[in-house]
Subunit: 407 residues, 2 copies
């Protein structure tokens, strides 16, 4: 389904990538755990973050950076894996501040132009000197190597996640590249969904922000592995503005159509890669929810199905136990017309008129469940709103990863 | 912790219990699957039901019965296991109606005095003639045998669930007895939480209803095995009114103090038995949530922790991975003061001042997690409201029961 082998390089100008092994992540092979992205010139930036109320120090300070000016800009993004610097109190906040101070001094920029993200163990203090000392000695890849960037932010991910698109704004060639990490909420220690997106488009921060927020709802906010939410989820979108077109200052500008379409599909690809790498996942599940009273309601019902342990285990067992889907629709608390609900497993119509469909073939439904990619289409029969969410099944492997481990 | 061996009998008057094997449940040993409770005289009755919007035919009609008169009464309760008669369309509703018509004819009572409940497979039509024909030939236990009643409503429960209390209203001896079933939301086919409570107290239906609703919130509505909600959850409370005291017509009457206390503890015992019998459960977990901004908020946070697969697997693995608890508090979306959160694993203080506690001993926390009964106490530091919820861990056995099965 997904081809993650791709050119590691882009023709990005004004952007440097460096990585190294700093020792923050316990890695027997000295896998890189520190990523630095430097922008030669102030670039526009947008961000979306975890809704967790126990968010990490990095998340808090990124939010502050974005709110510091009407048009925020970025000069550097530092990411470490191995330690989430979450729930580390005031000291944790100071650690982030020290790193940002050092980089603003090094790059001769405002401290609010330095963004950070951390992923890994919760509750352990992060040693800022480890990061600062290693940053001093970094030398950038030439040309910028996105594959190495994607590798450096992994925790228990089994593969690096990169996606790339090219499109046009006016006649200018626009490149978009994104890296992400995440594979559940995550073993052996809780981890995180991180995404970093870059483009050369000439767009100001407020336009980027609106694009990111809208597309995020349909992509990173439409996936679930185990319903758990990290303290550190972060997606940043930066634009070097080096593309050769006049700046576009309105979200609604029609010249952005192609760009929006491409960033949307890039974000969806990264989001789906995270689900595919979900802990213990053996199947990729798409839930298409239709006929709801509102988009919000559609999404809530879809997530109720996607997060139901009974639905997820039934799919793991390739068991067409559709009663569990009915149950999950019902427990969402959202409007649904029992007698108009239609459920399809693959192309097989399971229910209609409030009961099992006359021509339902359990054999055909089971055949679909034997595939790697499962599609459940559900119409709840009350309106015209839709939502699609993506998830994986719940297997022994998930328990193994998350319970059979001793810290 | 719980002693479920108890006298099978009560000195209830005016109440008959019959059970039999009707063949609705696929049982190689002909385990009884049909329960009939007959009240010689019209008894007062109260009920609470699933909030699922895809609720079963029995649930719908029980609700109608309760709403049919200001002071509803009951003459019979019929329960079958093996088939939930849920998502069976209009035909399913007719099936319930036929059973109720037959019994109202047999007992010469109003059809609204006949209550039903079904638990078992979803989506299959229930054969009303099987129930009706067997009811014709039933002969009641003499004296009424609660143990047999509890057995007849089991699906995949590994043991029958009964609790009993005696207390006083004025000088009259009051007996309360309850039976329940449920063990997750449930394998191999989805099942249900059912509870039937009986007393000889002389209380009208409106007082029973208020007591039931209030106590239900602290008991059956404070447990979770896997966050899934059945289409058929039903708790009925009936009172024969044969006890020798003047009727009490107000919920707030102080003479009800002892009764309320006892019915509360009886309902809690039954609720906890359901959690103990939770699918694959190896540990019983109590989550005491304190310092919340409201009771509703306290309950929501407590359930966020109780339903988190990462918290449940950590406890299964006896791993003091408290970062997952922080995550679960944060993802609830409810008010919490990160820097004032206190988490105790057993008696061991894990966090304070927004970070790991100075004297925290992981060894002591782990020792507690090796017990069968786990207590997590969490203060979120924003108010004075509390809630306690009960759950179990998430183990390989849960996956085995729910995924390794083929229908």
């Amino acid at each position: 389904m997904f081809d993650n082998r791709m050119n590691e390089y882009t023709s990005f100008q004004n952007l440097k990538i460096s990585t190294c092994f700093s020792g923050i992540k316990k890695s027997p092979n000295n896998e890189h755990d520190l990523l630095l992205i430097e922008f030669e010139k102030a670039s526009s930036v947008a961000g979306v973050f975890t809704k967790s109320l126990t968010s990490s120090a990095s998340v808090n300070q990124c939010r502050d950076c974005l709110n510091s000016e009407e048009q925020s800009t970025v000069r550097a993004i530092v990411v470490n894996s191995g330690n989430a610097n979450a729930f580390t109190g005031e000291k944790g906040e100071e650690t982030v501040l020290e790193i940002r101070k050092f980089l603003s001094y090094k790059l001769n920029c405002n401290i609010n132009q330095v963004y950070t993200a951390s992923t890994g163990v919760i509750g352990e203090q992060l040693d800022s000197s480890k990061i600062i000392n290693h940053i001093k000695n970094l030398s950038p890849y030439d040309p910028p190597n996105w594959s190495e960037a994607a590798k450096a932010i992994k925790t228990t991910d089994t593969f690096p996640k990169i996606a790339k698109r090219t499109c046009k704004i006016d006649n200018a060639k626009i490149e978009i590249v994104g890296i992400a990490k995440g594979s559940g909420m995550i073993a052996p220690n809780m981890a995180t969904m991180l995404g970093f997106l870059f483009t050369n488009a000439n767009l100001p921060s407020n336009v980027l922000q609106k694009i990111l927020e809208i597309e995020n709802e349909k992509t990173f906010n439409s996936i679930t592995v185990d319903s758990d939410t990290s303290t550190s989820d972060t997606v940043l979108l930066s634009a070097t503005r080096t593309a050769n077109h006049v700046p576009i200052n309105k979200y609604s500008d029609k010249r952005l159509k192609d760009f929006k379409k491409n960033i949307s599909s890039l974000m969806l690809e990264l989001a789906q890669l995270i689900v595919i790498d979900g802990e213990g996942a053996s199947k990729f599940i798409t839930i298409k929810l239709e006929g709801a009273s509102s988009t919000k309601s559609a999404k809530k019902i879809a997530f109720s199905v996607a997060n139901s342990p009974l639905v997820k285990t039934a799919i793991a067992g390739e068991d067409a136990n559709w009663g569990r889907i009915i149950m999950a629709i019902g427990k969402s608390g959202e409007k649904a017309n029992r007698d108009k609900i239609k459920i399809y497993i693959g192309n097989e119509l399971v229910t209609s008129n409030g009961m099992v469909s006359k021509n339902y073939s359990e054999q055909k439904a089971t055949e679909h469940l034997k595939q790697k990619e499962i599609i459940l289409t559900i119409d709840v029969g009350v309106g015209k709103s839709k939502a699609t969410v993506y998830t994986c099944d719940l297997t022994h492997k998930y328990i193994e990863i998350n319970a059979d481990y001793r810290s």
